[in-house]
Symmetry: C2
DNA sequence: TTGTAGGCGTTATCAG
DNA sequence: CTGATAACGCCTACAA
C-alpha cells in the first residue's frame, strides 16, 4: 500500500500543498469549503503525516529513551509500566534499553539514544556505574534527563527517589523493636547510592538504639540475586550463629535467605527475623511471608515521566528549567518474618 | 550544544557536502587526503548523522514496535528481554507498548506504531482480542509482523509459539500418572488461542486415559490473577471436594490456589496435586514448590526478533518473504506439588 | 576525484 | 483565503 502524502491530496484536489497542510491543521485562514474537501479526501485515503518528515521539520521525535538495569525485575518492571502509561497519555513513545548492570552497555545505550535524537532520557544507573562521563554528555547535549532510584548525586538533573536512608533506618528499627539484639545486614554493591544509603540507615538505627555496629555483620552482594541470599544466609549461620535479625537490601535476596533457612529448618521469625526491601509480589506468597519496605514503583515511573515532560516542554518554549527532586514515601509492611 | 551537520564540516573544509558525505561513508571515489581530513574534523566535532534526515531519506527508522499485554509479568518481561537484547545487537531500537489486556488500547497502539513508521511490529494479543481488523491493517501497510504466544490463527504472519495443546496434555498426563483420578482445570479466558489449546490438551489427556470429562470441573479465569486462583481454589473445595488434581493455566494463578490451600490447611500434594504453567520464578521459592511447564520465554523473544529481522531485510531488498512459524519446546518440571 | 542538483514530506514565511 | 518558496539534513544519480 502506497503512503498518502500532502502532495497527492493537493494534486487530486487541484490545490497547493500549503493549503492542504493548513486545512489539516485547522488553520483559521482556510475556507470552510476547502477545509472540508481536504479533510474528506484525507480521511478516505487514510492520510497520516509522515513522522520522519515531521521529525525533521520540528526537530522533535516525540520519543523518550529509558535505560534500566533489568527488565525482569519486580521493581523496575513496575516503573516501566508507570512510564509507558504516562508517556502514551501524553503522546510520547518509549524506547527501552537494558544495561544489564553493566557500565559499558549503559554507555553505548546512552550514545544510541543521543544519536536517535530522543526528546528526553529517563534512567536508573547500573551497579557498575562509577563514572558519569556519559551522563554528563546527555546534559552537554541539552537533552532533558531524569534519574530515578539508582542515581548519581553528582549529576545535576531532576530525580525521583525514595529516602533510602530513612527507609532502611525504619526497617532496622522494626527489627530492633521486635527484640533483635544482633542484626546483620546484607547490603547491595558498593557503587549504587541507594545501597550506600540503606547501609547508612542500618548503621544509624543501630547507633540510635545503642547496639554496637560490627563490620563483620555486613555482607555485600555483588549481583543481588536469589542465590546470593542463600549463600549469605549460610555464611551468617556459620560465622555469626547468634545473629537474630537480618535486614536485606532487597526482597529477591531476602527470599534466598528464607529459602536457605527453610531448607535447614531454621525457624523464622523465632530463631531469626528477616526484613526485605521493595515489596516484591512474591514476598506475600512465600512461607513465611516476608516483612518488607514498600516502595512506590509505578508512581516513581509516573513521577519520572512528569518531570521529564515538564523539562521537555520548557526546552521547547526556550524557558529555563531548574531540575527538581521528588521524594516518594515508603512504609514498613509487617508480615510473618518479623512477628 | 549545537548539532554538527555535513554542511558545517563542508564549509569548514571548503569542500562540498557531497564529498563530506561520501568521505564519511568511506566511498571509494574520495581521495585519501580529503577522507582523512573529513574524518578528523567530524570526530573532533562529534558529528553524528541526524537520524531524522536519514529516516526521511532511507524511509526506515531502525526501530521496531512491541505490543504486549503486560510488562509486570514473568513470562512477558523475559520475552522483552530477549527482544531488546537481540534488537540492539542488530542495530534496532524497540518501542514497547502495553495493551493491558484491552482490545481498545491494543488498536490504538497499533495505530501509533504504524504512524510512527516503525520498520516492524512484534505482538502478543490481549485477552480481549476477538477482532483482528487492526492487525490486518498492519499487513495491508506491508509492515513486517511477528506474532508470539497469544496469536491469531487467522492472521497470516510469522509466529513464535509453543505447542500449548501438547504441553497441556503432558501436564495433565503428569497429574494422572501421579495418581489423580478427578482433575479440575482452571483455564484462561475464552478468546486467547493458547487458553483454548491448553484446555483442549487437558481434555485430550483425560480422554486418552479414560477419565470422563466434566464441564463442571473447568473454571474460567477472566483476569488471570493471583486472586482468581484463590477464588477458584475455594470454589473447587466447596463444589467438588473429591477433586485430587488441578491443572492451572499459569503459575500466577496456581500460586493463588496454593495460597488458599495453605491458609486452609489443605495438604498439597497429599490431599490434592497442582501443576501450573510457564515456570515463573516464584514457583520455585514458594512452599510447597510448584510443579509446572517450562516455557522458553527469553528464547521466544530472540526467535521473534530474528523472524522479524528476516522479513524486514526481505522487504528492503524487495524479495518476497513467506511467513514462518517457529515452535519452541517445553518440558514438565516436577517439584513438590505433584510428588 | 569532486561537485551540482533534486528530492524525501512537512512546515513556516511571506507575498499575492 | 491561497500558494510559491525555502528550509530541515541527508543521500545519490549524474555531470564536470
Amino acid at each position: 500500500m502506497k503512503e498518502t502524502t500532502l502532495k497527492q491530496i493537493a494534486e487530486a484536489l487541484g490545490i497547493s500543498i500549503t493549503t492542504v497542510s493548513k486545512a489539516l491543521k485547522n488553520y483559521p485562514d482556510v475556507s470552510e469549503k476547502t477545509k472540508k474537501s481536504v479533510l474528506e479526501l484525507a480521511q478516505s485515503l487514510h492520510y497520516t503525516p509522515n513522522s520522519f518528515a515531521v521529525n525533521l521539520r520540528t526537530k522533535e521525535s516525540r520519543t523518550v529513551g529509558l535505560i534500566i538495569p533489568e527488565v525482569v525485575h519486580h521493581f523496575f518492571s513496575n516503573v516501566i509500566n508507570g512510564i509507558i502509561a504516562e508517556a502514551e497519555k501524553n503522546g510520547y513513545l518509549v524506547i527501552i534499553l537494558q544495561s544489564n548492570e553493566s557500565l559499558e552497555l549503559e554507555k553505548k545505550q546512552v550514545e544510541l539514544l543521543i544519536n536517535k535524537r530522543v526528546d528526553g532520557i529517563i534512567m536508573s544507573l547500573s551497579n557498575d556505574s562509577n563514572d558519569e562521563q556519559h551522563i554528563k554528555e546527555i546534559l552537554k547535549r541539552e537533552i532533558p534527563l531524569v534519574q530515578f532510584d539508582k542515581i548519581s548525586k553528582f549529576i545535576l538533573s531532576s530525580k525521583v527517589v525514595i529516602n533510602d536512608q530513612k527507609a532502611a533506618f525504619e526497617a532496622t528499627e522494626h527489627l530492633i523493636k521486635k527484640g533483635c539484639k544482633k542484626i546483620a545486614h546484607i547490603r547491595g554493591p558498593v557503587n549504587p547510592q541507594n545501597a550506600i544509603d540503606r547501609f547508612l540507615g542500618y548503621k544509624k538505627a543501630l547507633e540510635q538504639y545503642n547496639i554496637p555496629f560490627d563490620y563483620n555483620l555486613v555482607y555485600t552482594c555483588k549481583n543481588v540475586t536469589f542465590e546470593e541470599g542463600k549463600l549469605f544466609a549460610s555464611q551468617i549461620v556459620k560465622e555469626q550463629p547468634d545473629v537474630d535479625g537480618i535486614f536485606v537490601i532487597t526482597d529477591l535476596v531476602a527470599v534466598g535467605v528464607l529459602s536457605y533457612f527453610n531448607e535447614h529448618h531454621i525457624k523464622v521469625p523465632n530463631d531469626i527475623k528477616v526484613i526485605g526491601f521493595s515489596n516484591w509480589f512474591m514476598s506475600q506468597v512465600i512461607t513465611p511471608k516476608l516483612s518488607t519496605v514498600d516502595q512506590p514503583s509505578y508512581e516513581m515511573g509516573v513521577a519520572s515521566f512528569h518531570l521529564l515532560l515538564e523539562e521537555m516542554n520548557c526546552r521547547k518554549e526556550l524557558i529555563p528549567f531548574a531540575p527538581r527532586t521528588i521524594e516518594l514515601p515508603t512504609n514498613i509492611i509487617e508480615r510473618e518474618t518479623t512477628l
